[in-house]
Amino acid sequence: MIHVVYWDSDVFLRLINGEEDRAFTADKAQAEIVLRGCQDVWSACQKGVMHIMTSALTIAEVIHKRSTPKLDPKYRPEINNFFKQTFISIKPLTNEIAELARDVVWDSDVMAKDAVHVATCAYFKVRELHSIDLSKKKKFEVNGLIVNAVIPSTVQKEIVNERN
């Protein structure tokens, strides 16, 4: 089966912000590693060897690049289409996932929007969560499943997807 990874919205933003994001980051070397990881995963997806899963929440979170003016509304449908790449699957935010996210907030002390990403990832039994913010927490146990939060990379081979 294709290697499936879950992407937090902060990974999409880092990929879109590209090089410019480095200016806002204290650790420039780390920012470079993260950006290269995002680009590698994106490239692997374009080649058909990886697949990105994310929550519908990501669509609402990826709005504009840092410090840029408001987008012309006529371009909004085009931006919607960006998330309909052949290698991206958007998962709905259902009541069940929201309840699971609330458990994550209670158990792991993360913000609600971050918890939605952890919960969606766990709900669909993907154990590799690519995230910049959540990678500091490293591991989440949700409904008996361990979700590993890591910075984006194509080489986390030891993590096996359990999605069946």
């Binding site: 089966m1 294709i2 499936v4 990929l15 879109i16 590209g18 994106w42 697949h51 899963m53 990826v62 709005i63 504009h64 690049k65 840029t68 003016p69 408001k70 987008l71 012309d72 509304p73 006529k74 371009y75 085009e78 931006i79 289409n81 960006f82 309909k84 790449q85 052949t86 699957s89 958007i90 709905p92 259902t94 009541n95 069940e96 709900y123 669909f124 359990e162 999605r163 069946n164």
Partner: protein
């Protein structure tokens, strides 16, 4: 007639200990067994399942077994997954390494020989371990695969298998794992479904979910086609759009 354990020469073996059996019972049991072996083999890696194993039929048709073929090296692993998976299903648990199809095949095996109180069949791992195929396996499979609750939600996948037989329906197949979700649609949606045949769509409606959260079916209230590839912005275009290139 039970199999003579000392004569087992295959890695994974289906033992059929029935005095007499119909052609269809025998065929169903052996097909379910071989399909289970193929499904687990396919799921653990890149192997072409049909070329990984050689089939041996035991004298008197008391058993069907498989041995690795064409240099297939993961036979031991497949053996372990099948043994443990059947064991777990018989205890009412979901085997982690069994796909939906594998669970279906295990259920098929457990429902063989309907005339018996319980099928007198076992699956052997080499000569050492065996699992009795009890009806409980079919019960667990039903619990795992049947819908348990419903909610307003959506599913997405490739629209295939459009039919108007007994109502308008199509099946969407998940782009990641090919999992199928059947979608019931009002007759007026036939045209949009037909136009998007073999294309990726999002289907919104009342979704029935299994206990583990996986969608089983949808009573559709909306079908949203995915855009063609030329309508999807590239990463560079997305950067331009969100970088003030498209400001109001």
């Amino acid at each position: 007639m039970a199999i003579d354990i000392n004569k087992i020469t295959t890695d994974i073996t289906l033992e059929i200990d029935e005095e007499s059996m119909s052609i269809s019972d025998y065929q169903k049991a052996s097909d379910s067994f071989l399909d289970l072996v193929k499904e687990i083999t396919k799921n653990i890696g890149q192997h072409k399942a049909s070329e990984a194993w050689e089939v041996r039929v035991y004298s008197g048709s008391v058993g069907v077994g498989v041995i690795p073929y064409n240099g297939f090296k993961d036979g031991y692993r497949v053996q372990g997954i099948i043994n443990q998976g059947l064991e777990m299903l018989s205890k009412g648990l979901k085997p982690l390494e069994f796909t939906d199809k594998a669970i279906e095949h295990a259920k098929g095996l457990a429902l063989s020989f309907k005339s018996s109180v319980a099928p007198k069949i076992r699956v052997w791992s080499g000569k050492e371990k065996s699992v009795s195929i009890v009806r409980e396996i079919a019960k667990t499979a039903d619990q795992l695969l049947s819908p348990s609750h419903e909610a307003e939600s959506s599913v997405e996948g490739r629209l295939e298998t459009l039919t108007t037989h007994n109502g308008s329906k199509f099946v969407v197949y998940d782009v990641i794992d090919n999992r199928s979700v059947s979608c019931e649609i009002p007759i007026e949606y036939l045209d949009i479904a037909h136009r998007n045949f073999n294309k990726r769509v999002e289907v919104i409606g009342v979704v029935k979910f299994r206990k583990d959260g996986m969608p089983v079916s949808v009573k559709a209230s909306k079908i949203i086609p995915f855009p063609n590839s030329e309508e999807i912005p590239s990463l560079e275009r997305m950067r331009w759009l969100l970088n003030g290139g498209a400001i109001a």
